[in-house]
């Protein structure tokens, strides 16, 4: 966790961090789906995949290259994969 701490620290110092969260393991997941007006609540994650989303960082950077260089510094990219995705812009 120390590595994550310093990586978060660096993001904050650079003024690019807009939010981040670690997610608890998928054993704690609950799936919600509404079908025919009925809410179905299931115990467990939606798809059974090998890769799990462990958390996210929301960062505000000018372009993909900047995002990639932050992703490469994230400890997760050394023992797993970091997926970089743009967010939909919010209407102003």
């Amino acid at each position: 966790m120390g590595a994550y701490h310093s990586s978060t620290e660096a993001l904050t110092k650079a003024g690019v961090l807009a939010g981040s969260n670690r997610l608890r393991p998928i054993s704690t997941a609950t799936t919600v789906r509404v079908a025919n007006g009925k809410t179905q609540v299931l115990n467990g994650p939606y798809p059974d995949t090998k890769e799990q989303l462990g958390g996210y960082f929301l960062i505000d950077v000018p372009d993909l290259d900047a995002a990639i260089s932050w992703a490469a510094r994230c400890p997760g990219s050394s023992h797993g994969t970091v997926e970089v995705r743009p967010v939909w812009p919010t209407r102003t």
Partner: protein, 428 residues
């Protein structure tokens, strides 16, 4: 001037600007919005307006500035209409100001800032699918249309069109920057740009007769891009190496087919048919690259070509140099294709036995089972040792794998000659 004459003049001016500045204008317009498709659309509308306006008003002093101003207005109109939030109003205003300021500069100096290299780096970004990078560069920098690119890359026009659109969407949505990477990043990134240019060249190279209209221009366009990169990055040895490699190959174009259109292998080509001026330029580029002191794939391949055309002066290829260069390439790439060529060169320096051994060492590589030159090389070497039966089988497979009819006929002739010598040896 009659209206006809002014029509012609407008068209000629527009054509000249398109040839000279298309890529520059797209790069300039797209660099700010990262929206390549919008830049292309706006520019083509601007060209259409030019063709209706210029005959009436006369051609402007700076056609580029005129086109930029009109294209800029179109981009902003589209942005306003869309208002999807992708280009927010504030951004639109910034964009308008920047474009205005630069259009004014352009009008003053008659010069569009050249951002084509930045555009090429965006197109060859690692986030873009490697297979679409070369087509994308050809389209956005040179303005080639999707169906022409599709036929050159043996892809259906629909598929090519969709993949190009997707790639442009990716540039815009993922925020791929239009910039020349920093010095420390450059080696990795430049490679992708050079690879894309070489892929375009190689696609055109596959049609040496120049009978396929779509593919005929590709080597020329690739050479243009190669020159452009060396002009913009004059001290990058690999960029120089690539240009040298392409010039060397291009210099021998005429010698690759005889008057009947049959394939002529390098060893049997007539050196007087080679373009010696082009070879001299290539040699000078290689020397310059070499002086910069950082070797790489394209310089090695360029140097290989150079060792082959050694024959032009001495009547003999410089085989020891060829083997050495393949050794270096093999260390660098570990490519089985390199190993095969290396084996053929070894046949010239150390004899057939050593060459067959070298080829056997890589024969286990599954990638080779469908690779025509592997089977042709094998057949050639086996024939030299007198193993006619095995050689014939290897030729059979090589013929079955080749898609160029002229090369197929060449292999068939070799196989046939083998059948004759095999027959003779049976009789004796």
């Amino acid at each position: 001037m009659s209206s006809r004459e002014s029509d012609v003049q407008a068209r000629n001016t527009a054509d000249a600007v398109a040839r000279r500045s298309y890529g520059k204008l797209v790069a300039f317009l797209a660099a700010r919005t990262r929206d390549v498709a919008a830049a292309e659309d706006a520019l083509s509308e601007a060209f259409a307006s030019a063709l209706t306006n210029w005959p009436l008003t006369g051609c402007p002093a700076s056609p580029e500035a005129w086109l930029l101003t009109v294209a800029r207005r179109k981009i902003i109109d589209v942005g306003r209409r869309r208002r999807s939030g992708e280009i927010a109003a504030a951004q639109l205003q910034v964009l308008a100001d920047v474009l205005d300021a630069t259009a004014a500069d352009v009008a003053k100096d008659f010069e569009v800032p050249d951002q084509r290299l930045a555009l090429m780096f965006a197109c060859a970004h690692p986030a873009i699918d490697a297979g679409i990078r070369a087509p994308l560069i050809l389209q956005v920098v040179l303005g080639l249309d999707a169906s022409m690119i599709a036929s050159a890359f043996l892809m259906s026009p629909t598929t090519m069109g969709q993949r190009l659109v997707r790639a442009k969407d990716k540039i815009r949505q993922a925020g791929i920057p239009f910039r020349i990477p920093d010095r420390e990043e450059l080696p990795g990134r430049l490679g992708a740009v050079l690879d894309a240019i070489y892929a375009a060249f190689a696609e055109g190279w596959a049609d040496p007769g120049g009978t396929d209209v779509a593919r005929r221009d590709l080597p020329e366009e690739a050479l243009f891009l190669g020159r452009l990169v060396t002009e913009l990055l004059p001290e990058e040895p690999e960029a120089l190496g690539l240009l040298a490699l392409m010039l060397h190959a291009e210099a021998r174009r005429r010698a690759r087919r005889n008057t009947q259109g049959e394939y002529v292998p390098l060893a049997e080509q007539d050196p007087t048919l080679w373009d010696s001026q082009m070879i001299d330029v290539a040699e000078a580029l290689l020397l310059h690259a070499n002086a910069l002191g950082s070797i790489g794939r394209y310089q090695l391949e360029g140097a290989l070509q150079s060792a082959h055309v050694h024959r032009r002066r001495t009547g003999q290829a410089n085989w020891p140099a060829v083997v050495q260069l393949y050794d270096a390439l093999w260390t660098l790439s570990g490519s089985p294709v390199v190993a095969i060529n290396r084996a053929l060169a070894i046949a010239e320096t150390e004899g057939t036995g050593a060459a067959l051994k070298a080829i056997d060492d890589v024969a286990a590589d599954v990638r080779l089972t469908e690779y025509q030159p592997y089977w042709a090389a094998r057949a050639e070497l086996l024939a030299k040792t007198g193993a006619y039966c095995e050689a014939r089988r290897a030729y059979e497979i090589a013929i079955g794998l080749e898609r160029d009819p002229a090369v197929r006929r060449f292999l068939q002739r070799r196989q046939m000659a083998l059948a004759l010598s095999g027959l003779q040896s049976d009789i004796i």
